[in-house]
């Protein structure tokens, strides 16, 4: 049986593991139980700052801490990080202060809370900020591994985690995870599916379904959207000649856009983008949402065939 886990748990674990570094501080905005920073808060109350329900304040408190030699980890729901977007832009990214922002419960997969909670634009907006590294890992192991690398990053970051459990792909393989480097999870020569977050396991399912039809797909976990791993994309274009991107995010501005931006000025291949079709979500169970949005495995498989037909 595949182990199931939520990426937000990997984040919570990493904060605890990072606590030996006494410069690490945690900022909360009344969602620590949800983003999983609560474990750190319980163990290290002296290094945890509650900002109440005040995300804008939290981001700039983080900036002040970073400017004073600390390594702040701030978290809230992905959607509410957006409320502090300009604070992140002018107060954090512009002076290049290494505040690490984590947005949990990202995407439509977050489920029955409905459209107000389902961030489908966080990756896009934070990707537009100079200096900011943007990540969206797919399982708890890789989330933990990426978070553990952040103190060494020296610049701000945004990481989206997810509320619900998905299959764990990296048990015993955390050494393969490196910020900025996509991971090839499956090799094929007909098409490359580049994915992030909760859709990585859907992409693997799609690849299996395609294999039954004699189509061999490469599947890549592109956990870092910015900087995008151009070298890997070049090799995928050369190897497969057709690309698909898959993300639980608006099809505008996220992983698909990042890949498209890269290939139009580098090695080119037909690209099909699977993502939320520029609409808001609604209340539904996580798996139902992937169907409603047209981003589950069968849609990814169809997009793969479409991309191949355009070779």
């Amino acid at each position: 049986m595949t182990r199931m886990a939520a990426t937000r748990d990997g984040y919570g674990q990493a904060l605890l593991d990072l606590a030996d570094n006494e410069k690490v501080v945690v900022l909360e905005a009344d969602l620590g139980k949800s983003t999983k920073s609560l474990h750190f808060r319980k163990a290290y109350p002296d290094r945890t700052i509650s900002c109440g329900i005040g995300e804008q304040n939290m981001l700039l408190v983080g900036a002040g801490l970073a400017a004073s030699g600390y390594i702040p980890f701030a978290s809230t729901f992905a959607i509410f990080t957006e409320r502090a977007f300009e604070q992140m832009r002018n107060g954090v990214a512009r002076p290049n202060l290494a505040v690490h922002l984590c947005g949990s419960h990202g995407g439509t997969h977050t489920g029955t809370d409905g459209s107000s909670a389902q961030s489908i634009e966080d990756l896009a907006v934070f990707r537009t900020l100079p200096n900011v590294v943007v990540m969206h890992p797919c399982d708890d192991v890789s989330t933990r591994a990426l978070t553990m690398q952040l103190p060494g990053l020296g610049k701000p970051s945004y990481m989206r985690t997810a509320r619900n459990k998905t299959p764990v792909l990296y048990d015993g393989r955390e050494d393969e995870i490196q910020i900025g480097k996509g991971v090839v999870l499956r090799e094929g020569y007909d098409v490359a599916i580049i994915s992030c977050g909760v859709l990585v396991s859907e992409s693997l399912k799609a690849a299996e379904a395609l294999a039954e039809e004699g189509i061999n797909a490469t599947v890549v976990d592109m956990h870092t959207l910015k900087p995008i791993d151009g070298e890997l994309i070049d090799s995928l274009v050369a190897q497969c000649g057709a690309l698909v991107t898959a993300e639980d995010h608006n099809v505008i501005g996220g992983l698909g856009s990042a890949v498209a931006e890269y290939i139009v000025s580098n090695s080119f291949a037909p690209l099909e983008m699977v993502g939320v079709p520029d609409r808001f979500g609604e209340s539904g169970q996580a798996d139902e949402m992937l169907e409603v949005m047209g981003i589950s495995a069968p849609y990814i498989a169809n997009a793969a065939k479409e991309a191949i037909s355009r070779k």
Binding site: E28, L31, G52, I53, Q56, I79, D113, G114, S115
Partner: protein, 277 residues
């Protein structure tokens, strides 16, 4: 619309039953803040709101803005009591395609005037509605329900300052002062010190009541509507109990956003007088 205190209490009891049923059925949602607000919503809707259930988009209706939009089961319950939606609709809470979305949403549910879910937005929206009423020379009012944790959002104070500046006497806030927010008690997350003094300092008319005492709630609503309090914005600070009415939910932060299990559900129905022990 005259209703006796006993009649109002019975409506509120029925709403409590529906609230617990909704979150139990969905195994998700926010019972705590729905139960703390429900006596206030009941009195407001049953005796004050100038609305028409058969014409929910009537342009000259009073507006009600549930800014703490996670407490949607409370709102859905009273909307069903008032005939805006059916009791059958309540079963669609958090179900795909349902009118009762996880957070109240004006695009999905008749009688809902604001798409909430992100805290600290409703008061600004209410100011917009109140400003429109003033420009229209209409008598309609905007009532806004906010949470105490919600009050920590800076935008609440931007709106509070602006509404007083513009002397919006048709803007009325009810604060659900239940002393708990998401992670914990407010005093652990962010102390707010003297809340009435803060609102007074921002130029608001302020009254404090027990938000579970129907007679006091009626007095509080009288205060909001009193002509002398219609020269500028007014706020009713209602002291409530989060989870109020269900013993094991009362003052229990873990029932901010958690559903009762089957056993707890049964106990709640007993406590609300729906079933025999």
């Amino acid at each position: 619309m005259s209703k006796t205190i006993t009649e109002l209490e019975e409506i509120a009891r029925k709403c409590r039953v529906e609230i617990v049923k909704m979150v139990h059925r969905a195994q998700a949602g926010h019972p705590g803040g729905s139960l703390s607000e429900i006596d206030l919503l009941t009195a407001l809707y049953a005796t004050r709101m100038r609305v028409k259930a058969d014409e929910p988009n009537w342009s000259d209706r009073d507006r009600f803005i549930l800014s703490k939009g996670h407490a949607s089961p409370g709102m859905y319950a009273i909307l069903a009591e008032m005939g805006f939606i059916s009791h059958e609709d309540l079963k669609s809470y958090r179900v795909l395609g349902g009118v009762c979305q996880g957070h109240v949403d004006m695009k999905w549910c008749p009688g809902v005037d604001f798409s909430a879910g992100s805290l600290g937005m409703g008061l600004s929206f209410g100011m917009g509605c109140a400003s429109a009423a003033r420009i229209d020379k209409s008598e309609r009012r905007a009532f806004v329900m906010i949470g105490d944790g919600e009050m920590q959002e800076g935008s609440v104070w931007e709106a509070a300052m602006a509404a007083a500046h513009h002397e919006l006497g048709n803007l009325k806030v009810i604060l659900d002062r239940n002393r708990i927010q998401n992670d914990d008690f407010c005093k652990e997350q962010m102390r707010m010190f003297d809340i009435p003094a803060k609102w007074k300092a921002f130029g608001w008319n302020v009254k404090e009541i027990d938000g579970h005492n129907m007679a006091e709630i009626m007095e509080g609503l009288d205060f909001l509507e009193a002509p002398e309090n219609c020269q500028g914005p007014s706020i009713l600070i209602a002291h409530t109990i989060k989870g109020g009415g269900i013993s094991y939910m009362e003052n229990n932060p873990s029932f901010h956003g958690a559903a009762p299990n089957d056993e707890q559900f049964h106990q709640a129905m007993v406590e609300l007088g729906e079933v025999e022990a």
